[in-house]
Amino acid sequence: MADTLQWENTSLVREVERLSGTPVGACFQCHKCSTGCPVGPEMDLLSSQVMRMIHLGQEQELLESRGIWLCASCEACTTRCPMGIDVAAVMDTLRMMAVDRKAAIPDARGEKFNRSFLGSVRRHGRVFELGMLAFYKIRSGDLFSDVGKFPQMLAKGKISLLPKRSGAAKQVRDVFRRAEEEEKKR
């Protein structure tokens, strides 16, 4: 016990480091990242706790946490980490791992939103907001939130009834397909 700390489940640290490209093992638990996190009050795990749990190899708890889906990708943590760790990239990596490994995601709204958004881009080359929202609502079962805003948004021209397609929609479909092939190689 004396010569080595028992906490390092090195395989999880190494894997997250490889996928995120950032030195997670260098975290020395100063909590600066958590202090500036805008969604700290809502998170079940703060970013510094996430770092520690990666060291400890607590994969299941991490991949099933709500917190990784509450991250707004604001990069405050990445900007301020004294060890140069790209904390926001670690959050991205954990979300991708959670989807890949079919973890039980406690609140799937964020994941459904991402899927609906990218589905829209894949079809049209650009986001078609109304179609994207419809898919999101069906997928998430979150049918009624914000529906009251639609008439106002339509009247103000903020959403349109028809998609605005990019002339390069076919090219975008090819990019999606080849990106999927590349992701499988990682």
């Binding site: 990069e75 991708m96 986001v127 903020k158 990019s166």
Partner: protein
Amino acid sequence: MKYAYYPGCSLESTAWDFDRSTRALCRVLGIELVDIPDWVCCGSTPAHVSSASLAVALPVVNLQKAATIDAPIMTACASCYARLRTANYKVQNEPDERERVERITSAPYDGGVKVQHVLDVLVNDLGPDAIRAKVTRPLEGLRVACYYGCLLNRPPEIVAFENAEHPSSMERLLEAAGAKPVEWPYKTECCGASLSISNPAVISRLSHKLLSMAREAGAQCVAVACPLCQVNLDLRQADAKLAHGDLPDTPALYITQLLGLAVGLSPDEVGLSALSVNADWLVPSDPTATVSTAENPR
């Protein structure tokens, strides 16, 4: 001055007023914008949290298309700006990433197309004095809280064109237009960004926090430079008040709308009708008058 213009998806829908006011302001200031032909979505946050390959490939498709225009890219959306710059950074610094994205897009790319945000163009390429010279309807004494949010300046080694924790480009531009920007501490706090749809409760809390601090600092309105900030402070302002307590109506305007009004553009030319929290009181009916600072009685 010529730029390859990348509007991005938000500027075709929820932020059409940002698009209209940016184009109109650039016209008045003599900045030529050439639309990137057949531009595609940058992938925004959903791509970078879902697929590392897609997060680089979608921006690169646009950077490759822009290369034909032979001018730097200018974009107004802070999220597109961050995604395009991040893709360039990865292509330049990570050889594997470059090879991968060249395979995905079936075209070469060296990360060399310069990407600028409209604020960077206005404050660094053009300069506040050029704006001061064009002001016909000064924003006389208008107290504005300049709100930068997260993506414009973070992470600094990739995106920032000024101090990441204490930005001042909007203040400098608005002062040149006659306004009185207020000092306030939440300039670079995050509004919750794309959680807007998947977690509106978080957005309500953050918007309320931002708006009440802006008011406490004496601001009458907020200036923004990002479509996500605008939606979260404007469209979601009513929800924020319902959930967390009443506040005076506080319009959140794009910086290009405020500057556009100052250089004499009409409310229609800057898309003022798109705002949910009304800002018509800014523009008096006498077209030669200065911008009004008398807010509407509620």
